[in-house]
């Protein structure tokens, strides 16, 4: 599957969920594994609710991070979601 496009509405895949929040880090649980998330990765995945489009997520993060390099944020979000898709953590 290719990268998500601007209109994609990324969501956590079936069988993936957040563990209870725990300080600065948050744990995402999925079949046979878990990842500890902080920083941008966490910010992105917390917005993958099946409602927001990729474009909305990117705009949101550009606003939050001062949008110094809007193109870079867009590219990084796309790349990160593609990686998460390959691990079967995110669908879009």
């Amino acid at each position: 599957m290719a990268r998500p496009d601007d209109g994609s509405r990324p969501r956590l895949a079936a069988g993936c969920r957040w563990a209870d929040p725990n300080g600065a880090e948050r744990m995402l649980l999925y079949p046979e594994g878990a990842i500890r998330l902080q920083g941008t990765g966490r910010e992105i995945l917390e917005r993958c609710d099946g409602q927001r489009t990729l474009q909305q997520i990117v705009t949101d993060l550009q606003r939050q991070y001062g949008a110094a390099q809007p193109a870079r944020i867009q590219q990084e979000v796309g790349r990160f979601l593609e990686q998460m898709n390959q691990k079967r953590i995110v669908d879009y």
Binding site: M1, A19, P31, E32, R88
Partner: protein, 366 residues
């Protein structure tokens, strides 16, 4: 002191309608009368959650043989654990599955023995393949993670491409292709199960091609046969490092097969807390860390990656549980594995499908 365990393997029962010739249960199985009660399991899940455990794997035997499985799933979820059911599918109805999902089941691993019903039913010693296919379709109606699980060996490795197609057709999110590991029942049937070198090489190409093709749709996790590897597997992620197994009667083991090692004493969750067992019990300390390691492990750069391999395999093949795992090409007793491989691969390793192997089937327990 190690943190963790990260996952709890809950062998809810050793009862099972299947008789798979490579079953990971011990040769001496626990009887139904000795099984932990509903309340005892739920207490164990609570202790595991507080100990920092993230996942629970509900397994057996066949966990569906427990009539209280829905309550156990609910109890595991209430303890904050990610709840995975490892099952043959025998005993699931549409209604029962819906109840399990409603109770909080998040991931189901359905075992298949082959893509072909005749071989699958021969391996399982029960007619079960067609039923599993039906059950997979029922599972797929629910929004939970679905893994198809296939143990591979000499009798089915040549069907690997078809096995992958079956997983696609059934809509699995994940396919686990695990080569047989040769302990209890599997070691008894090793001669008919161990694949040839040609099969192993071909299967690696098949998996690689499928992974590329299915990227983003289905994840494939592939466990290679350690007999053909250069270095041993990091068995259980290291002894007493990541996993704790509770058997049906409440004994806590560092791995499925640890009971074969002489002199092991397993504490029971009926008498001791999980935290004490993890931190203090002799069973979990016995091969934890590096102090027990012989040469060449002791000074090997790989000791922090593979932890010297599998203790049970070391014992079963060499008679010494503290020996370097003989699958390692550096092991002093590596010839034990080499000799078996030579026998299997003699004359280019003709795969004998007929005559039918004389299997030693795992019996059921009551």
């Amino acid at each position: 002191m190690p943190s963790g365990p990260l996952a709890l393997i809950a062998e809810l029962t050793h009862r099972c309608p299947l008789h798979c010739v490579y079953c990971s249960n011990p040769l001496q199985m626990q009887k139904a009368a000795s099984e932990l009660t509903t309340e005892e399991w739920i207490r164990v899940f609570g202790e595991a959650g507080r100990l920092g455990c993230l996942h629970v794997h509900l397994t057996g035997g066949e966990p569906l043989a427990r009539t209280d499985l829905t309550e156990l799933v609910a109890g595991a979820r209430a303890a904050g654990l990610y709840t995975n059911l490892i099952t043959s599918g025998i005993g699931i109805s549409e209604k029962r599955l819906a109840a399990l999902v409603a109770a909080g089941l998040e991931h189901i691993q359905l075992s298949f023995q082959d893509s072909r019903a005749d071989v699958a039913d021969d391996i399982a010693g029960t007619r079960s393949h067609a039923y599993k296919v039906d059950m997979a379709r029922v599972i797929r109606k629910h929004k939970i993670a679905f893994t198809m699980n296939v143990v591979v060996h000499r009798q089915n490795l040549d069907h690997l491409a078809d096995i992958i197609s079956l997983a696609e057709e059934l809509g699995a999110d994940r396919l686990e292709i695990a080569n047989v590991q040769y302990y209890g029942w599997a070691l008894r049937n090793r001669e008919a199960l161990l694949p040839t070198r040609g099969q192993v090489e071909q299967s690696e190409r098949t998996v690689e091609e499928a992974e590329k093709r299915l990227r983003g749709r289905m994840r494939i996790d592939h466990v290679s046969p350690d007999y053909y590897a250069r270095y041993p597997k990091a068995c259980m992620g290291g002894w007493g490092r990541r996993l704790m197994l509770i058997d049906p009667a409440g004994q806590a083991l560092p791995c499925h097969a640890a009971g074969v090692i002489p002199g092991m004493k397993f504490d029971n969750v009926r008498e001791k807390s999980l935290v004490w067992i993890w931190q203090e019990s002799s069973a979990f300390q016995r091969f934890r860390g590096e102090a027990w390691m012989p040469e060449p492990c002791r000074t090997c750069d790989r000791r922090t990656e593979d932890f010297g391999g599998c203790r049970c395999q070391a014992f079963l093949l060499t008679g010494d549980a503290a020996a370097t795992d003989p699958v390692c090409s550096l092991a002093p007793r590596h010839e034990l594995v080499e000799n078996v491989l030579t026998q299997i691969n003699v004359g280019g390793g003709q795969v004998e499908v007929a005559p039918k192997p004389e299997w030693i089937y795992r019996p059921n327990v009551r």
